[in-house]
Amino acid sequence: MKRRRSLFLHLNQLKQMIKKFALVILFLLALLLMILNKNNSLILENSTAPATSGVAYLVDILVVPAKMLGKAYDYVDELQKIKQDNRVLRAENRELKVLQNKYKALEIENKLLADLLNYVPLPNAGFISARVVAEENNAFTNAMVAYVGDNEITKGDVVLSDDGVVGRVDKLANEYAKIIMLTDINSKIPVIVEKNRVRGILTGDNTNFPKLIFVPLDAEINIGDRIVTSGVSGVFPAGLPVGQVVAVSKNEIKVKPFASLSKTEYVKIIKYGIADIVKQSENEK
């Protein structure tokens, strides 16, 4: 009885102490989370995955009524534009048919030349389409969450919209994937300038215009140059459209992404067979 009372007193003291220092403990916890993230801790990533999935599911539920309201407004707005769009699309279609014929001829020529050189082609990339359920664009991050279902997605897979590269898969949480956009501070993509094949790295800085870095000093880069993925490192397939140079100064080159990052409803996630590269880097950690 005495022992039980003493234990109760100890527990009570502990409870009082925790209450007294709760704020300090929570601040330390916040700091610890940052340190764990700095070290790319897999513990943090794996332990939060189920909870992340639960929260993403909640957002997914909220998306439905919000989107219905938005779509009703868009429908009325778009009715006026349909006639004009139709005319433009017909003209565009005619041009595309001409281009398609040219493309087919080039494809055949390319195959013949590759056969002549005994060229070993890169692996074919498959893709899945995913619905965006949450997005965040602010000074701290540029990211989105997409519903991927039970498809086999790998960390690092490339994410595209109809217009170009959106970013890459950063974290996986059951049926949802966190995607960091190419404008995010953590995003680094090997690219080339399409015109003169100058290599560089496109790095985000949480603004709308990521920077092109590690470019040779004597490289001739002008406003309007198209930037595409280089395929170096094997993570991103080569030749995917990324953006266009919008500003060139002594210190930095700014690129405007082709993809409308804040208007993306659906994305394509490219499966490029990089699982081995990611596994290897995680093993190294």
Partner: protein
């Protein structure tokens, strides 16, 4: 059955309403809605909820609620884990120590209070993230997002006040 429901579930719902409403408002902020004003500078709705509930119902919104809001944000966002939680805790400390100055004051004073405290909080968060990434994050985006947050606060405050007046009755708690 009805009596049981009224005695147990209703008070529980009323006690949890500040946290539940804050989580829902925070999640709404992440919806992929093409709204020009919010496209690149979404304000931090979590800060608004913490400020509102800590001023108006500190008995129902405590440190644990703030911590849980921080955790929910960490789970959905790809931003630096712990930074938002730290910012929310700072907001908690600031409001906790200044709430006596805002008691029974006109809304404009409370609004000014939000302007001052949220500015301090987001600047600390910005500093933390900048130190972490070893580079200054874009301050212009942050300031614009802050200004939108200040502009939107009356709307959020009105919605939360409506919830409070409609669903939280003191005699039930």
């Amino acid at each position: 059955m009805d009596d049981n429901f009224n005695e147990n579930v209703v008070p529980f719902f009323q006690k949890s309403l500040p946290l539940i409403s804050s989580v829902i408002i925070m999640l709404l902020a992440y919806l992929p809605i093409n709204f020009a004003l919010f496209n690149n500078v979404r304000p931090d709705f979590g800060l608004m909820c913490i400020y509102f509930w800590m001023l108006h119902r500190p008995d129902l919104f405590n440190l644990i609620s703030v911590f849980l809001l921080g955790v929910v944000d960490m789970l959905i966002t790809s931003a630096l884990p712990g930074a938002t939680l730290g910012a929310y805790l700072i907001m908690f400390v600031l409001v906790y120590n200044t709430q006596k100055y805002f008691n029974a004051k006109p809304f404009i004073v409370i609004w000014y209070g939000f302007m001052a405290l949220s500015l301090l909080t987001i600047l600390v968060k910005w500093l933390l993230a900048s130190v972490y990434y070893s580079t200054f994050l874009p301050l212009s985006v942050l300031i614009f997002s802050y200004l939108i947050g200040v502009a939107v606060y009356p709307l959020v405050s009105m919605s939360l006040a409506f919830l409070q007046n409609t669903f939280i009755q003191d005699e039930g708690l």
